[in-house]
Amino acid sequence: MPLFRKAFMGRRCSDLPEDVLEEIFSWLPPESLVRFKCVSKSWYALINFLIKNLEFVNKHLRNIDKKIFSSTYSVFSCLTDLSHCRNISLLHRDMFKSLTVFHEHDYNKSHHLNYVSEDFRLPTPVCNLYLYAALSSHCNGIICLASGSTLVLCNPATKEVRVLPRPCLSFDDLWVQQVVFGYDSRANDYKIVRLVRKRFIRDQMEYYLKSRAEMYSMGIDSWREINGIPVEIDSFADIGKEVFCNGVFYWPVRARNEFIFSFDLFDEEFNIISLPNNPLVSQRDHVTKLAVWNESLALFLYPAESEVPKSIEVWVMDDCSDHDSKGSCSWINKFVIEPLVGGFATPLTFLKNYKLLMQATDGGLILYDLRSQMLHKLTIVQAVSSIPVWEFSYVKSLVSVQGGSRSISFMK
């Protein structure tokens, strides 16, 4: 049953029935939809109705992955512009770039790769958010930025931005360890998990209390503390190296030994997962990096020495449902990426259609086709002499940042 017909019986937009028009709209990017509000009164009413309708927004999101015409994968990155920034530690986080690569379902054209790079300036929120120091996380087109006790959600594709209610764990002297944003499909709700430690100074020494965790739910628009952190985590691996897969966050942790720390959004449970049983893991000089492969947790594993040509092992977590208290999950050595011609590149993330995004030593992005083993240099990113400091697969969605009943008007 078409959504609009239920709400506005009997109205027609042009020659096409609303249900067909609704189907067409579900394939359009947000900016086209917003522009087409100007076509006529009935298009205006239909589009306004649809972009506020959860069922339509979810269908629009699913269609992004299903597209066969102008099928794309986008990477959203935050760049360090070296020309404007002498001190590399000062990052220009208000300068975002989305890189969209067009994928052709055409074997003859597989050598041809089109891509466009677009700039995104984040809509400036009313509050004081130090973008330079903000933690960021992305899911379904929404970016979550967090600095101290200030959290902001924004959807660059619809220009929506919202400052969130103050977290319940907001003390004066606070170290925010992690802020992550994800979608709980079972509860049909977007959630944020925040890990913090309180800092205090005694006898000129700095101390930290135990980590505490809290969760924000967009559905009810409020925070609450969650208990049950199974282990004290002094330091996570690099910020922004977590992955989100099927309602679970995974963080790489390098303490006395290396493991993966996870949180399930639905069960609200923390867990510890051990790495694959592999000789490389027991060696000291190796690199591990988390990724998502075909909706499963994956792990890149390669030796750390920079000089030698090296291959990258890709491990995929098979089943973690029946893991015991020691957190033994079964890992499968899925495949090995042989040393690339032209030097080593760091694996970043898997994209759809067997593509792997990598970063060359000069900072440029490389797209590697796992099946044809072809390399494509994405020169446009290099051209601005910038280094992406965080990157993720990005989609232009209609998902609203408004919480609660979501009745607040869109795009004010």
Binding site: D15, I24, F36, K37, C38, V39, I68
Partner: protein, 163 residues
């Protein structure tokens, strides 16, 4: 679906009659890719002749060509085949003119060929996504019915989408 199941069950043939009297003889497995036909077959059971007064023979033929391809391809579905299907789909709608696309879409919608509607609406969307408002009005034969000033107000509010 395995190949053994198609050999054990006798292939039933259906007659589909278009608005202009053109008839098509198709296997049941092909025709039931269309939700509307599937419902008729399930409800009426024995009837072998189905009249479709809202679809012209030319477009019914095209819809059935799509169904045939997808009914065959579903028998050995794997990842690689999915890619082939997508490639075939793309070719299928590649050079359709606006008029054919419109009638084919109306036929697919009427016959509840959900996957085909998906394909055709995505094709339409890919054709119009970058267009200006005036071009959309021309394509869809729509006259602006906004009061003076209303359209400008919407444009002003969403100026970023018009850049």
């Amino acid at each position: 679906m395995s190949s053994s199941s198609t050999t054990t069950t006798t292939t039933r043939l259906l007659m589909l009659k278009a608005s202009d009297g053109v008839t098509f003889e198709v296997e049941e497995a092909v025709a039931t890719k269309l939700g509307a036909i599937n419902n008729m077959v399930e409800e009426e059971g024995s009837e072998d002749l189905i009249c479709l007064p809202n679809v012209n023979g030319k477009f019914l033929g095209m819809v059935l060509e799509w169904c045939k391809k997808h009914a065959n391809n579903n028998t050995n579905s794997d990842k690689g085949n999915d890619e082939v299907n997508k490639w075939w789909d793309k070719e299928f709608v590649m050079d359709l003119d606006q008029n054919t696309l419109y009638h084919l879409l109306m036929a697919a919608d009427y016959l509840s060929g959900t996957e085909l509607v998906d394909l055709l609406t995505e094709k339409v969307a890919s054709m119009i996504r970058g267009k200006k408002v005036e071009e959309i009005r021309e394509t869809f034969k729509i006259k602006s019915d906004f009061l003076p000033g209303q359209e400008e107000e919407i444009r002003k509010k969403n100026s970023w989408a018009f850049e």
